[in-house]
């Protein structure tokens, strides 16, 4: 079986395929340089810390949370390996009663597992809080682990620490400079796997949650699942780094794992730049080296270091990697052109609606749906039926309950009373993500694009549900995972072409014009393969020509058999493309019917314009 390109995916140029060979270069260092301080002390530390900073990057860079407790995971890995492998002979007066002397790799695996469990436990508070609050929780978390290793002498020998013997393989010592040969393969393998995960649908799910949790949920991505997974993965890698660290100095003691270390990792990460392995490496290198370079400043060394950090972060807010990325962006133009060309060729045979699943029954049936907030009834006993394959307009003056209805339909709010049925299934108690998976997609009035991602990646997030690869296949970037990714890319490109955005495929969403952003929202929603598409004010802020384009797109969506619920203020649009229109006022349905009938309905006119005095006079007589 070939692991080469599939379905027209372009092969990277030869030079690009040979670059991994450069990864062998660092292995020459211990062979060429004998200096223990630089090879073992500095290079070894850089390798281990890079692993840790890359793990922190999963939480900070991808998920967007701040952790100041990663020294805790680091400590779990380090102490598990230390206590389980240390020889009693070297720990004569230790408070630890029994040293099991397990093999290094077994202890390391257990350290990773224990740390992953700790990450799982921390993942849950991360679901409830974020920003500074979560940062404080992570500090507390790190502190608990630090206090444990500092004071539980029977387990950890307290402040006196644990001494390990250097590793041996056969007759060869793997201590000293040779330890690089142990650490480095782990580093390369893990970073490679993290990079694969980062650029796969997993990484996109992480970034989608960071950019807009509500939009992520509306494409079927479970925030809880991916957020907790990110913490577990991150903690596992941090535990691995800790386990490797324990053998670096052949000695572990609590002071290493204090809160300072967590802060320093965070500084190295931000300094180097997030979501970039090269950035992680550069950040760590500078962070390990710099204090040494400033020895000339003697006592004011750390102060100079701090000032330098401030200045650099002020001028390079995205870290060193940010600078590299913008330089690389200019150089990478040719590679992108090849990919674009291949995508365009492959996408030309794709029918974007081909995979639409056949559904039975009415697209949406609301029966007596009521939503109360305290004393306020925002939606009052609303019943309506939207037949499959039709376009329904939902209008009403400000505050009439349209937005609340949308939020109830998508599961953002749980209705106080009433039933919601879609294609014969009761969806009223499903979560937002479950409804999206069921086939309810939406766009957002106040654009909820994933701003850091490209247009193509935004649509790929919409296709999230179509991915079948598991995490191992993704991490190892197996041919199956690659085929699946390429197939999704082709489909995403075809969807962009459907809304007329294919030339913006590699543009970041934040760089799109307002009209293009609206179209991208529609493409992303269609990627979910919806049975019912909810368009929330798609015309807001658009020019007449752009509105015409959207009208044409909605007609084609309808022709493909997708039911559309259109919430819109722009009456010309509503009247032009709706089969029927429902009018809300004060949370109640006041009219329903063909566009013409609704426009002439006195109740509708009154809701929008108020009572006309002649009508008031007539009423009084």
């Amino acid at each position: 079986m070939s692991d080469g390109p599939q379905n027209g995916e372009p092969r990277p140029p030869l030079a690009r395929r040979l670059t991994p060979l450069l990864l062998l270069l660092p292995l020459l260092v211990p062979l060429l340089v004998e200096n223990q301080y630089y090879v073992h002390g500095i290079l070894g530390r850089i390798l281990v810390y890079t692993l840790l900073v890359a793990s922190l990057d999963l939480v900070v860079g991808y998920i967007g949370d701040v952790s100041i407790g990663h020294a805790g995971f680091f400590a779990i890995g380090a102490y598990t390996v230390a206590v389980l492998t240390a020889p009693p002979a070297l720990n004569g007066d230790s408070a630890i009663a029994f040293f099991p002397q397990w093999p290094f790799l077994v202890a390391l695996a257990l350290g990773v597992a224990l740390s992953a469990i700790a990450g799982f436990v921390l993942g849950f508070p991360a679901l409830r809080s974020s920003g500074p609050y979560l940062a404080v929780i992570t500090i507390a978390y790190g502190l608990i682990i630090f206090t444990f290793i500092n004071e539980q002498e029977a387990w950890t020998n307290g402040t006196k620490g644990v001494t390990l013997a250097p590793l041996r393989l056969g007759g060869v010592s793997l201590g000293g400079n040779n330890y690089i040969f142990v650490v480095y393969p782990f580093l390369v393998a893990v970073l490679w796997a993290l990079r694969n995960i980062g650029k796969s649908f997993w990484g996109r799910a992480f970034e989608a949650i960071k950019n807009s949790a509500v939009a992520a949920a509306c494409t079927g991505i479970s925030r809880a699942y991916y957020k907790v997974s990110a913490f577990v993965l991150s903690a596992a890698v941090a535990g691995l780094a800790g386990g490797l660290f324990s053998q670096l100095d052949s000695y572990v003691a609590p002071n290493t794992f204090s809160y300072n270390l967590s802060v320093e990792f965070l500084i190295a990460l931000i300094f180097g730049g997030t979501r970039s392995i090269l950035g992680n490496l550069i950040g760590v290198t500078i962070f390990v080296f710099l204090p040494d370079l400033f020895t000339a400043f003697a006592d004011s060394r750390l102060m100079v270091y701090g000032i330098l950090l401030l200045v650099v972060l002020f001028f390079l807010p995205d870290g060193v990697a940010g600078v590299l990325r913008s330089l690389w962006g200019r150089l990478a133009g040719t590679g992108l052109a090849r990919e674009r060309h291949a995508l365009a060729a492959a996408a030309s045979h794709v029918d974007v609606f081909a995979s639409a699943t056949a559904r039975q029954g009415d697209a949406l049936v609301l029966e007596g749906v009521t939503m109360r907030f305290g004393g306020l009834t925002a939606v009052n006993d609303l019943s309506l039926t939207i037949p499959r394959g039709s376009v329904r307009g939902l209008i009403g003056p400000n505050g009439s309950g349209k937005s609340t209805t949308v939020n109830v339909l998508t599961g953002v709010y749980q209705q106080t009373a009433g039933r919601i049925t879609s294609f014969g299934h009761d969806v009223g108690s499903l979560t937002t993500a479950q409804r999206a998976r069921f086939g309810l997609a939406r766009t957002f009035q106040n654009l909820q694009l994933f701003q850091d991602l490209t247009a193509l990646q935004n649509v790929l997030v919409g296709l999230h549900q179509s991915f079948r690869s598991n995490l191992y296949q993704v991490a190892l970037w197996t041919p199956a995972a690659r085929r699946e990714e390429w197939g999704a890319k082709v489909r995403a490109y075809a969807l962009l072409r459907f809304v007329g955005l294919e030339s913006q495929a590699f543009e970041k969403a934040s760089n799109l014009s307002y009209g293009q952003a609206r179209l991208l929202e529609i493409a992303r929603a269609l990627a979910v393969s919806p049975g019912l598409l909810l368009l929330d004010e798609p015309a807001a802020g658009l020019t007449s020509a752009e509105i015409e384009a959207i009208n044409a797109i909605v007609r084609r969506i309808k022709a493909a058999g997708i039911t559309v619920l259109l919430i819109e203020h722009h009456m010309e649009m509503v009247m032009a493309i709706s089969d029927e229109v429902t009018v809300l006022d004060f949370g109640r349905k006041i009219a329903e019917g063909s566009p013409g009938a609704v426009q002439a309905d006195p109740a509708v006119i009154e809701a929008y314009l108020g009572k006309h005095p002649t009508a008031i006079g007539a009423g009084a007589q």
Partner: protein
Amino acid sequence: MALLEIENLVVDYGRIRALKGVSMQVEQGELVAVIGSNGAGKTTTVRTVSGLLRPTSGDVRFDGRSLLPLPPNRIADLGLVQVPEGRKVFATQSVESNLQLGAYLRLRKGERRGVEEDIASLYQTFPRLSERRSQLAGTLSGGEQQMLAIARALVAKPRLLLLDEPSMGLAPVIIDEVFRLVERLKRSREVTIFLVEQLAYRALEVADRAYVMEQGQVRFSGTGRELMKDENVRRAYLGAGAA
């Protein structure tokens, strides 16, 4: 010279053009209404006048003086006082404190005596507020909060009162009450009123003149009486097909 002159105002929200060249005039002592459906640009206009939004181009002049270089607090100091959409009372403060805060600029100039007299006379105009003067503003009903928001603006002794959607979220009976008050303020002719309102017929009933906005532009204008009979008003809200 008109008291307020809005000239060719263009306002963008990031990538969205909300006002596409809007011109309006308000004479001393007039009540001018701006009507139009959701998203027409009414609130954007009033927020630009009060300095909360910066226009991309165009000008806003008060008494012949451009307001554009001034921050909102200086504009308020000139006598343009806004009653914001959705009332925005200081919910965790008492009714009395809300009124005192409305007079902040006057109190800073040492007009304590005058402010106290004005608050006392406002309590006569708004007996409900007087009954609830020590109650937290957040616990008032929607209609009472709207009255408080208007009273808070009046304590500042405005020369031009900017009323943004006073009917928003209120029940019809309460809306009647609010508009009776607006009518009374207009009759007193002490304050010029710039009224932004979605409920067209309510606004036209009290307005001397009105501008009808649609999609960031003034479509047409006229006296309240003329527009009341004009079918185009209905079309501006419900589309060209509307009867």
